[in-house]
Symmetry: C2
Subunit: 221 residues, 2 copies
């Protein structure tokens, strides 16, 4: 097998790089846009700093795709609709919802991509993927701001917990669509996990990490 | 005179750095946000690249303020309302309006800041201001995309010309407010220009450049 476009790169790796690249580009766009909602200049600058880090990750992934002889736009194309739909259906209505999206949503996505990355054979690609998945500081920032807000007004914890659940629901919906449409990516994950018990363990790990993030925020998962 | 907060920096220079810093931060935010409107992934990435450059400028200005012993947030604070109001009243409704805003609006602001910078005594500050005002590539990009669109559909030229006029109107409104409230900055510009004839020449230069930009777009100014 010659790989995608005769490059020797298998389709699942192209998909992983493509979804990550478009994911970083949209994460950049949305974080930067959510910076509008920031209550202070310092908060705005903090969110903008994280957005700029996501953009740097996007350029690294795009350059890596090009170096492998692949067309970055073609690699990203299949993931435009699911990622845009995820963001369109989870547009934060205030600053705290934006922070929770950055922490809970990106946390879930990051955990998932990290699991997939473990099955990627090419070492350069695996190294880059793990690098772009490293936390850009948004976790600590989001946790401290959300906890402060809930301490000030405990009544808002219910609304924010519901928001987090909606985020997870929309993310799963789009993930399912991708799984159905992108056979190679699904096969990599299922094949890599070994069997159904392996998939079940993977889901348990994702759920446990999500619960830990919700607890860090002081929210019921 | 000890300058602002005993730093030896005169109030007009602090104001210039403050308005530029907040201007870059909001430009970043709006460009990144307008990237949502991009028709292709390549256009989206191009706008995101410019936004990231604006963000780098913001951090340079912020660091320069801090190096001078000034509080960046305090320096930016007087310009939050006028800049936010400008952006809120000129939210582009489509991709082309966003491009015209990036080209015509930023072009006008850049010309103006460059005029002010000429009167700044501190060489480091003047050098940094001229550096952050350098074009990040958005001019060529905007011109080629807008011209293509008008070639495809000449009927839209009228609407886009009106949009550009509205941008200028809103920018002048906010500039007037700033002039009234920030005596030191106004004094620097008026004093530097010499007299009313100097101010008139400055306005002529700004108008000429604006007309040239509109012509480059193929629009009536």
């Amino acid at each position: 097998m010659d790989g995608v476009g005769g490059t020797g790169v298998d389709p699942a790796t192209v998909d992983l790089l493509g979804v990550l690249a478009y994911g970083e580009l949209t994460a950049f766009e949305r974080l930067a846009s959510d910076a509008r909602l920031a209550p202070t200049i310092a908060d705005k600058a903090a969110l903008a700093t994280m957005a700029a880090a996501e953009f740097a990750h996007f350029t690294q992934l795009r350059d890596h795709l090009a170096k492998l002889g692949l067309d970055p736009e073609e690699a990203m194309a299949p993931f435009v609709r699911p990622l845009d739909e995820f963001h369109d259906t989870t547009d934060p209505s205030d600053w705290l919802e934006g922070l929770i999206k950055a922490y809970v949503g990106d946390g879930l996505a990051t955990d998932f991509y990290r699991e997939v990355a473990a099955f990627v054979k090419d070492e350069d690609t695996r190294g880059l993927v793990l690098h772009v998945l490293a936390d850009t500081g948004q976790a600590d920032f989001a946790v401290s701001r959300v906890r402060e807000a809930i301490d000030d007004d405990p009544a808002m914890a219910g609304r924010l917990a519901l928001w987090a659940r909606r985020l997870v629901g929309e993310a799963l919906l789009q993930a399912q669509r991708v799984a159905v449409e992108r056979d190679a990516l699904t096969e990599l994950l299922v094949g890599g996990s070994g069997d159904l018990a392996g998939i079940a363990r993977l889901l348990t790990r994702l759920t446990d990490n999500h619960t830990a993030r919700m607890q860090a925020l002081g929210l019921q998962s």
